[in-house]
Amino acid sequence: MNTASNKGWRNDANAKVTGRTKYTDDLKFARLLHAAPVYTDHVHARIIRISTEDAAKAQGVIRVLTARDVPGSNSFGQIIKDYRIFADDKIRFNGDVVAMVVAETRDLAIRAAALVRVEAEALPAVLDPEEALKPGSVLVHEGHGSNLVNTHRIRRGDIGRGFGQADFILEHEFRTQSIEHAYMEPEVAVSVPRQDGVIEVYGSMQHPFSTRRFVAACLGTPLSAVEVVGTPMGGGFGGKDDTAAIVCARTALAASLLGRPVKLMYRRDWSIRESYKRHPYRVSYKMGVTRGGLITAVQCRILADGGAYCSVTPWVTWRSTVQCCGPYVVENVHCDTFGVYTNNVVGGAMRGFGSPQMNFVVEQMVEIAAAKVGISGVEFRRRNMVRQGSVTITGQKLDTHKVAMGEVLDAVLKETSYEQKLARCSHGHAEGDELYGIGLAMSYRGVSLGAEGVDFCAAVINVQPDGSVLLEVGVHENGQGAESAMSLLAAEELGISVDRIRYRRASTSTVPDSGTTVASRGTIMGGGAVTVAARELKQEMAKVASERLQCPAAAVRFEKDALFGQDGRSISFDETIRLMFQAQRFPYVCGVFKAPRTSWDEHTGKGDAYFTWVYGCQAVELTVNKKTGKVRLLGATAAHDVGRAVNPEMVRGQFFGGMAMAAGYALHEEVRSKDGRITTLNLNTYRIPRSSDLPEMTAIIVENPDPQSPSGAKALGEPTTEILAPAIANAVFHATGRRELVLPIKLTPVPEEFPEEECRL
């Protein structure tokens, strides 16, 4: 099979290991101009005047652009159109860009940017989301009427009765921090005016179609006058959505006005200052449990700091709401979620998308509850977790796919010898300086967009007269290996060698708008479309071949680059294609995979939120140094049901990368600010995990092909990064005896002997 014989295959790996891959900043164009953004020191201010004369006169400067130069719309957004190409009326956070200098070189543009003068009336800033909700608070967007971006709610059962049935009621407050995607490649874009009037955009972004909407709206042109070309990108992790699109739009604007190619390459400090982050959350969580270890009720309040612009805050917080009880059956749930505007950096999409925050809460709450009841955390989870046919807290019956919660949990327990190691944990007491702990966490996760959006995807297979195959899919290569997975699926379905397939350079002008490559939807949606397309192509080919093979079309088998009849007769793939052309039939198909129906009632929080779910469990071992509080990770193990592993080495890569990101989230990553100005502006102060921070990791791939997914594959990009932080928190508890309810976990030296009541819980 292709998937086995091409283990680890990537269509782009050879170019990447030899340095031949051309990322956006590596592209060169004749008469290329360079741009630099202009920021101000303000956090919240009313703009009075922007003076660009001095900058415009500086050496090498071609033009200085502000909001006044935008011919189309200066405002854009996927949900609320409050993002600005350039700040016009107000500065709403410290990363707002008021102008852009375009010059002959990047250095000259940066030098001149300092000469733009902004006169503005400073306004009081609101930096605390709780304050922002109070009546009379400073408003970030006056026209919006309040700082409330959105709410979501769940009302299930009767929480009064639920808490009445409980023997114990546990209540805790959790806080999580703002973190940066820290893709290795900062935002960058080049726009090139073409002779046919089209603006061609190359950029580091994970959503060519959404970028095209931003650009076309900014220029005031139809979508067909903008062509966004897929370009190799140095990581996205959900972070190259709105901000990246704005960077693209600014270059398109300059290129369109000046008639020359324009590049805007972000410095790391600009990137961290301006790009949106993972939302910081405050969560109040109350859980009722019986002596028998059953959850009777959950009440929670979720507050998300959305920062200065809406971005996708309503969608992020929706996932948090739907998954607010983790993978547990709870009959009585009352959840209120608030997304809030503040003058902080924007909160937006980041790998996990509202689940890492909630899992940090839920997966500690279940262990706290288990301890209260007097059973192990694992046993508590088993008594409450979703099983085949369970009904979720939004009323969705889990019966369309294999519910593998127990399977992934068992896999991790076995691989790590969890129960034996749990018995060896220090709980604050150890002979030497190192306290030992093991901990785990698990989750289920709704796949793809769910009831958040319209979800469908296209794939075009265009077989050439010589039998070679061009493939293009409406998902984007973010670095994860999407193009390779799509190619492998096409090869497998068509029974041909993957070497036949060329993945076309993606362009918004050649494949239907299939949405953004987010929500771990690439493989399930793109792979679904590829599989559907390949099946349609096979039907056409079988019709042509059936006469030669003397068998009905439906009985034709595709394997080994050939078509086989029932009696062993065969005809080569190439010959069949030749016959198709002869018969005036193009071997060209556009396959479409439409996500099965989902539903949602915003008032009650009821609905079939996602058409399928994935299940994952991770465990981690660590030590905590008593004297320094330093945490050392010793090993981490993950099991995820991915539906089907299309490209196993790449699947493992998603496991490890996701766990690494979560380790940083748990232990040291934090976008720090002072008075609304970010202070961790480069990779020396914003510290992502280094190789020596991480332990050896083990990936257990569980495969239960999903009946509703044409390829059988589901999702794994985000599940892998949403549970290691609570696993670490649980392991820290088993090591120290102290609960850590705030991220990142900052441990102070552990007292030599600390009595039970000193435990924070």
Binding site: K16, A660, S692
Partner: protein
């Protein structure tokens, strides 16, 4: 001043000495494998080898390589395109995702294995400590370096790409 880059000798005007090395390589020579991701020497994406030692060139000048032997990622594969065994291991073991850190990572690993062909896994982990990767969690990168180390232990192996003499390597 005289420069030796990827086995080629070249002479540039002394006035070029103050130019940022990364801009010289990327813009003037189109050797774009070295990436500028932080501009302060914090991430390692711009790493090249100078006399077989890793150098973060976003904080270097052209004069810093005058008279020294430079290897960039573009010089790692054989002239006929055959991958260096270290590159081959990266491809086969899934060590490449977005690829932005890959050139620097391969060069750092190459310098390390030339020096320490018998390194333990833990030593490899430490050796790449200065090069950041956000995609992989480093696990498969370490796997790849560990596998490639076998080749560096062969007494006859010519693994310095400047020799351009290594043969295609079959799987160990």
């Amino acid at each position: 001043m005289k420069l030796h880059i990827n086995g080629c000798d070249m002479e540039v005007d002394d006035a070029m000495g103050e130019r940022k090395l990364i801009n010289f390589l990327r813009d003037d020579l189109d050797l774009t494998g070295a990436k500028n991701a932080c501009d302060i020497g914090a991430c390692g994406a711009c790493t090249i080898l100078v006399d077989d030692a890793p150098s973060k060139i976003c904080i270097k000048r052209v004069k810093d390589i005058a008279g020294h032997r430079v290897l960039t990622i573009e010089g790692m594969a054989a002239p006929d395109g055959t991958l260096h065994p270290l590159q081959q291991a990266f491809v086969e073991l899934g060590a490449v995702q977005c690829g932005f850190c890959t050139p620097g990572m391969i060069l750092v690993a190459h310098a390390f294995l030339l020096r320490e062909p018998n390194a333990s896994r833990e030593q490899i982990r430490k050796a790449i400590n200065g090069n950041l990767c956000r995609c992989t969690g480093y696990q498969q990168i370490i796997d790849a370096i560990e596998r490639a180390a076998v080749h560096y232990r062969r007494p006859q192996a010519k693994l310095n790409p400047v020799d351009q003499a290594y043969a295609p390597i079959s799987q160990p």
